[in-house]
């Protein structure tokens, strides 16, 4: 991406010789030059302790907004609490909610702001630590627990305050540097002309990455010790294509990036003509993965054939957490269906849990291996009243706007599909005839991410109306690789022959049962993976909007009839690297147009 001229003109180019290049995992494309700004998403930090007398009312407003935010956050956590959660966990949540409504406490804090000109954060901290002191010194275990709850309250309030403050204190043209960053924080901060983002932790497969790509903010993850290496105020260049963070970039480097321009983040002049088709006339469906409402406007210009994956846990994410109110969901789905047009939308039910947990309350249950925990359809069936039923009702109410399919995340067994289908039928029957529409059946698909689902794809294809292979998670589970663990992340590849064998199995089961099979993971946008997937029998792909044009160009450049031979070579290859080598050779043999699409020809 061309850095905005004002950004490059803002800070003088660093003297030659100070430039340093840190390697990183590229998680969202584009390049930008800006000023490093460190951001602490976790709090609790009180940045200043006192305010000017004329700031009292504004500071009290800040406090009240933070209390409202914290209450909203608690409600979200409560709605997401698994049904199996103990009464104790629920009681602790209740108590936290009561504390946030404790007017006596809040008035004491306000008085401290008003009379002592304390900042909201300092006032919260002072009032609560006085209470803690009263309870401390006791050797009663119950009392000590109660002191912990006051600590939790303090953390919650300071974090909520910090969110409001952080957004205000981010300067334009900032490149955010953080240890970790929740996707919700990026959404909030992006309104302040954020140019780029770099995190020490995180993976290319996170909500943050999807959000950054949608907002067209270049993102680098997995940069060790970046907080020590890049203090606030340092000029930096973020290269989200090649995975490079350039500290103190020289004028020469900036010029090089300026000239390079970008192909990924600029919308085309006119949408591509006709449906995507291979050089030998084979039609392949190419849909779009949507995470944010903002991306809906990209569907038409990029020529998407509808939405293949609407990630609702991201799509419904607002400033204060998930907006799960049924009426709001109805509106959100209607907007997606309107944007998708006659090609329709595939809405994936909430996939909460795993490594993308919404802010967890300090007293919530902790899972040792959340990726293997109560997430996806497991969580939906665990608490049908909180998550599943309202979402299905909203979908029934919205579907008059266009063709709608529903996708279940993290399915293990066909029985899970049947249970959701039964719940859907119940909810349909409960809706007034005027809003529900005559048809009680929703096309219900299953994500194939769990190896068990892929191995028993024949049974799953009988229960589901379509199958969508999530290659990111499938590869993670098949290869036993945690993508967020830097030590092993490089071992993750959807092109591993073991993963490909499962994709082949799913495609064959789908054909036999007349159940369409599509791929919606990153592999669907990977130039080297797409021909292999087609050769294995995959008929439809769903990719992030910026990749739609490249996938179309790739299809135009290759012959579908040649893909089965490549797939056979791939299945027989010893490892993922060998599969890539085969795919690259194959693409070069397809001709210049295909070879030109290789990342490093």
């Amino acid at each position: 991406m061309d850095p905005p001229p004002s950004a490059t003109g803002m800070d003088p180019a660093s003297p030659e010789g100070r430039e340093r290049v840190l390697t990183a995992t590229a998680a969202a494309p584009g390049a930008a030059v800006g000023t490093a700004t460190q951001y602490d998403a976790s709090g609790p930090v009180v940045s200043h302790s006192s305010i000017a007398p004329d700031e009292v009312e504004a500071e009290i407003a800040l406090l009240d907004a933070a209390v409202a935010r914290a209450r909203q956050e608690l409600e979200t956590v409560g709605a997401l609490l698994p049904a199996a959660a103990t009464d104790e966990a629920q009681a602790l949540l209740d108590a936290q909610a009561l504390m946030l409504r404790d007017e006596e406490f809040l008035e004491t804090v306000r008085r401290r702001i008003r009379e002592m000109h304390a900042s909201a954060g300092a006032a919260v901290r002072a009032v609560l630590s006085a209470h803690r002191e009263r309870m401390g010194g006791s050797d009663d275990a119950y009392l000590r627990d109660r002191a912990d709850e006051l600590v939790a309250l303090e953390t919650r309030l300071l974090r909520a305050l910090r969110h409001g403050e952080a957004a205000l204190s981010i300067e334009a043209h900032a490149v955010l540097i953080a240890r970790a960053l929740p996707a919700a924080d990026l959404l909030r901060l992006s309104r302040h002309r954020l140019l780029g983002c770099v995190t020490e932790e995180g993976s290319a497969a996170s909500h943050l990455a999807v959000a950054a790509e949608a907002l067209q903010i270049p993102l680098l993850v997995g940069v060790p010790q970046v907080l020590q290496a890049v203090p606030s105020g340092t000029p930096v260049l973020v290269d989200g294509d090649a995975g490079r963070l350039i500290v103190h970039p020289t004028s020469h480097t900036r010029e090089r990036y300026r000239r390079r321009g970008s192909v990924l983040t600029t919308a085309p002049e006119a949408p591509p003509d006709g449906p995507p088709i291979t050089a030998d006339g084979h039609a392949v469906t190419v849909r779009a993965n949507i995470g944010l409402e903002k991306e809906l406007e990209l569907l038409a210009p990029y020529g998407a054939q509808g939405i293949g994956l609407l990630r609702t846990e991201l799509y419904l994410l607002g400033d204060t957490g998930l907006s799960l109110a049924e009426d709001e969901q109805v509106g959100a789905y209607r907007r997606a269906l309107d944007a998708a047009g006659e090609a329709g939308a595939t809405v994936r039910l909430l996939d909460v849990g795993g490594d993308e947990q919404p802010p967890r309350c300090s007293c919530g249950l902790r899972e040792n291996a959340p990726m293997l925990g109560a997430r996806g359809v497991r969580r939906l069936l665990d608490c049908p009243d909180e998550l599943l039923r309202p979402q299905l009702r909203a979908l029934f109410r919205a579907r008059s706007r266009g063709p709608l399919r529903v996708l279940l995340p993290m399915v293990t067994d066909p029985e899970e599909v049947r249970r959701v289908r039964a719940v859907a039928a119940e909810e349909h029957a409960r809706l007034p005839a005027a809003v529900r529409g005559p048809d009680s059946s929703l096309p219900l698909g299953a994500m194939v991410e769990v190896p068990a689902a892929a191995l028993r794809a024949d049974a799953l294809a009988e229960a589901a109306d379509f199958l969508s292979v999530g290659t990111n998670d499938l590869a993670q589970f098949v290869l036993a690789v945690d993508r967020t663990n830097e030590c092993v992340a490089a071992r993750h590849s959807a092109l591993h022959p073991a993963v490909l064998q499962l994709v082949q199995r799913v495609a064959a089961a789908g054909r036999a049962a007349d159940c369409p099979v599509e791929v919606c993971g990153e592999a669907a946008a990977d130039v080297e993976a797409v021909p292999v997937l087609l050769g294995l029998g995959v008929e439809a792909l769903s990719v992030a909007p910026p990749h739609l044009l490249r996938v179309r160009r790739l299809l135009q450049a290759i012959r579908h009839a040649d893909t089965p031979a490549l797939a056979q070579e791939a299945l027989a290859a010893p490892d993922a690297a060998a599969v890539r080598a085969h795919a690259r050779d194959w693409l070069r043999a397809q001709g210049g147009a295909a070879a030109a699409l290789l990342q490093n020809p």
């Binding site: 009561l98 404790d102 209470h131 119950y142 009392l143």
Partner: protein
């Protein structure tokens, strides 16, 4: 104004759940509710205040209710204490 002595009967003392129940009950009445332990007095409608009473099993507190529905409030809150907040005694 009504004053009444109450004793914590449940084993776990006035911990989170009883404190929440007490505050929710107190909030249903217009009367002002106070709880006093020795010379320390807290607002019975403030959960943080009630928690800082640090009242363990056997502790005796003074309940004060003052307002139009003070009798009903006293009765409801005394019942909670006598029942040990529905917990193990």
């Amino acid at each position: 104004m009504i004053e009444r002595e109450v004793t914590i009967r449940n084993r776990a003392g006035l911990h989170t759940r009883p404190a929440s129940r007490l505050v929710k009950t107190a909030a249903q009445f217009d009367a002002e509710i106070f709880l006093r332990r020795d010379k320390y007095e807290v607002n019975g409608k403030s959960v943080i205040g009630v928690m800082t009473l640090a009242a363990e099993q056997g502790a005796t507190l003074t309940l004060v209710a003052d307002g139009p529905d003070e009798a009903a409030a006293t009765e409801a809150i005394v019942a909670l204490f006598e029942d040990g907040f529905g917990e193990e005694l």
